[in-house]
Symmetry: C2
């Protein structure tokens, strides 16, 4: 049997678009001689549809679309992800299902058993888990049709009491098909390959895995659909970050393929470019505006946005104050030259002074402090939003994960913006990505990479006045955020106790800022946003010492 | 048996505080001659602990605290909610449990079976559902110990396949105890009473129900612990919005009690006052600042904040522009006089003009539009935040649910603030609550209630220039947001099709604004925030017509 892996870029709720893409891929697969074409999880409505699933109108459109696709599907079998109704009257109203369609009809509907409900996933919010797993038959093959998490019950610490294939592991079968919506993080490919390979070996069956590609909100789907032989070897790997329709033959040729070799930073670069491009395209936006400070964060965002949107659609604004160093302007202009961007310069000193005059009475007798620093940052935020409003641009946010973590940013100031591009990159990762981008061609001027980080909101300010050096800070943050460790365990790893305690206290006390922050393009296993949900009113102090 | 219902105000993560409250209530219950004292769900750590549950340190503190409480508990049985570990190695790592403690020991641990995972609830994110329900025995009574949702599997549309008591309904027992974390909405008391009463009658058993009181983040717990006779009658009802330790005797005296008679708006008033007070107290904040426009929204927030914090801790700022009507200032000052607040006045015209000058080149040849309107709003937001930063105040947001729904507000401008006080009240409800507050004493000046709503951001602007009249708009929004209806079904209820379509389009296109909005004190069944999760990049058009 010839099988087509249709790795497509869906758009949440855009049924006309998704159906048209699916229809054209069915036609191409047929033309290539395939007997089966496999689409990703919830391909009909896009993933994640979130609370749109609560709308009867939305579910009705899902049903109407899958029925239209079935009617138009002849001479080939298609497997397509789509929500379906739970008709039993008990449990949640919906299933997350895989529809098998052929010759004008839906021949089988298989429901997802394991519903990820952690990190960015909320599936049990909407779906009833399947309780009876059945094999399906396609052109004489006995197929275990599974949906994403169904294969992800980890052996050493299973999150679910049983997985569907384990329940039926006395039966043998010919092929595992897994349709997925498995979002990118920079280490996810290896984890995915290991899990699929383990399942192949355990059940002595090849695995055909088809994933989404393209970004939705904060989530970036990287594609990388795969075929694994019954021996667990990778025999096919689809492209990353671009749609693909790849044809393979069953029985699976067990010759191993050469795996994708992109480095961590090349993956992140592609992911963020995809994230920006799809956010603009799917929201119907054209141009981006951003503030260029002469620092490394905004320089990186400008470079990524230019790669995603082209230089004509990126509008940098330089907004020097009395505290800005001269090289800030010079460095930012050099960056614009490298990227082919035309910039504008709007000094903020007059607006800043008019704010100081307005608040003179209220501030009487009080020294210059964070209030005045924040006024500068919010003046810039207001100017950028005014330009965005006037010209229908979208403001790109340039905060990094380190400063978001410790609250080293101004709400409504430098924390403003419709999309956070690098909010899931620690400061040291920001530098590393800049160096990676510079490897092929000099984009980020050397001076931007070598100068001491500073917010430039008061004379001679340096980030290290308030924060530990980033090399230390970022490691502590990684242990706390990605690995969820408290003070005691981080200190045991060799860090200074007061520094760890201060860092975690800062993370805790800045939850309210992140609560109001833009969606963050997710590239790690634990990004700020929907995947990390913290109570704002909590009073919790981590133990320091056992 | 004498039973004490300990309706307490917990603080998330504040183990020292929670343990001390629990210990003192155990002592008081013993002194009152009780053999059993019942505390709410997750009382040890507070509800909802959210992703703090992912921290080993946090779970360790839960265990240490419950063990200390057990050691100190002698001569009385206590039932206390606390997370516990799932030691089976399969499934999620934790249970949401009720600990039974007595004479220095934990005698029983019962786990929650039905895990609410919808609206504001995310329990399956953290907890494994209980699969074996067992009765417990307390002083010779056979007790069905349940946790909140365990009794909430609705008869006509059950969200779960089975509920724990249904599984064991062949057995008879003496008493149902339900420990809860059941957040307020203005119609929740009646629903709660109906559900508890139905369970009592179905299982022919009295029900003792103990709820949290006090606010955590956006959620307000109203207390209202109850006792229901086996015949389904309400025999005891604890106070609303204040802690209580109420003593009842078993067998239950089946004499009905007179139920709480607070009106919808009296409940909302108490809830919002509780929400503000606890947000400040639990976060460790003292004073509030807010902008007073002379309109009804900010007037209501000022009145509620003054009731919650006292007039000395509320700092209103009047920020007139060239477009402000003269009566705006006059009305706002009259309100301050009624509330005993001292106000400050900071005109924004000079700052506004300095922004216009700064953006002159970028705006060249473009007419006055939303960009200039938003600059005014953001100037006010920046001034308010500067005052908050300088004096360590918290900015209270004054947006209402109608304007949040349709995006009639400025991100980082009038949408700024640390807590949204009335973001779950439609504009017509804002007026009704003002009228209710004025019933006992004139607080909100008549002129504020009778003037035509306007944002006053351009000459002679009225809300109705851009929006349907609020009487119509609010009904359409209620059908769409609370009842999740699409265009077709709302039009069938007698509304004009273009108005409905436009309204829903506005709701859709303003998701990105609400994504960055403050926590909203929840008083309805569907508030903006954690209970309503929408994709930002979705392109979805509701059908209009079948």
């Amino acid at each position: 049997m010839r099988i087509a892996l249709a790795q497509i870029n869906c758009h949440i709720g855009n049924f006309a678009n998704n159906a048209s893409v699916i229809r054209s891929q069915i036609a191409s697969a047929k033309q290539a001689g395939a007997q089966l074409v496999v689409f990703p999880e919830l391909a009909v409505c896009g993933y994640p549809p979130m609370d749109l699933l609560d709308s009867e109108d939305f579910i009705h459109k899902c049903e109407a679309t899958i029925n239209q696709l079935a009617e138009a599907c002849h001479g080939i079998t298609a497997i397509i992800g789509c929500p379906s109704r739970n008709t039993s009257l008990k449990g949640k109203n919906l299933f997350n299902s895989a529809f098998v369609i052929r010759d004008g009809k839906v021949t089988d509907v298989v429901h997802k058993t394991l519903l990820p409900t952690y990190d960015v996933f909320d599936e049990y919010r909407y779906f009833e888990p399947n309780s009876e797993f059945n094999f399906i038959h396609i052109d004489g093959l006995k197929v275990a049709l599974t949906i994403c998490e169904d294969l992800w019950n980890e052996e050493d610490d299973p999150m679910y009491k049983f997985s569907p294939l384990e329940k039926s592991d006395s039966e043998s079968f010919d092929l595992i098909i897994n349709i997925a919506a498995s979002p990118f993080d920079y280490a996810h490919r290896e984890k995915r390959l290991a899990i699929l390979s383990r399942n192949a070996k355990k059940f002595k069956s090849p695995v055909v895995y088809v994933n989404h590609v393209g970004a939705q909100n904060d989530l970036i789907f990287d594609g990388g659909s795969m075929v694994i032989s019954a021996e667990g070897g990778l025999t096919h790997e689809s492209a990353y970050f671009s749609p693909a329709l790849d044809i393979i033959d069953f029985p699976i040729d067990s010759k191993k393929t050469s795996p994708s070799t992109d480095s961590k930073y090349e993956r992140i670069r592609k992911a963020l470019v995809c994230g920006i491009r799809d956010y603009f395209e799917k929201c119907g936006f054209n141009d981006a505006v951003l503030g260029l400070s002469g620092g490394v964060d905004s320089a990186l965002v400008a470079a990524l946005a230019t790669e995603a949107l082209g230089p004509k659609r990126v509008h940098p604004v330089l907004m020097p104050s009395g505290f800005s160093s001269e090289h800030s302007i010079k460095d930012a202009i050099e960056l614009c030259d490298h990227l082919g961007l035309s910039h504008s310069i709007i000094p903020i000193q007059d607006v800043f002074e008019s704010f100081l005059k307005a608040t003179e009475k209220s501030f009487e007798g009080k020294p210059f402090d964070i209030a005045e620093e924040n006024i500068q940052s919010r003046t810039r935020g207001t100017i950028l939003m005014a330009i965005a409003n006037k010209h229908r641009y979208v403001l790109l946010n340039t905060s990094n994960k380190s400063e978001l973590a410790v609250g080293y940013g101004t709400l409504y100031g430098d924390m403003a913006g419709g999309l956070s591009v690098i909010g899931d990159l620690y400061k040291t990762e920001v530098y590393a990505l800049c160096e990676h981008i510079n490897e092929s061609k000099l984009i980020i001027p050397h001076n931007i990479l070598s100068k001491v980080p500073s917010a430039e909101l008061r004379p001679n300010q340096k980030d290290s006045d308030s924060l530990p050096e980033y090399e230390i800070l970022d490691k502590i943050l990684f242990h706390h955020i990605e690995e969820r460790l408290g003070i005691t365990d981080i200190v045991l790893k060799g860090f200074d106790e007061p520094t760890v305690a201060k860092t975690i206290r800062l993370v805790f006390s800045s939850e309210f800022k992140r609560f109001q922050f833009a969606p963050v393009l997710r590239v790690s296993t634990k990004a700020f946003g929907t995947g990390r949900r913290m109570p704002l009113v909590a009073k919790y102090q981590y133990s320091n010492g056992r």
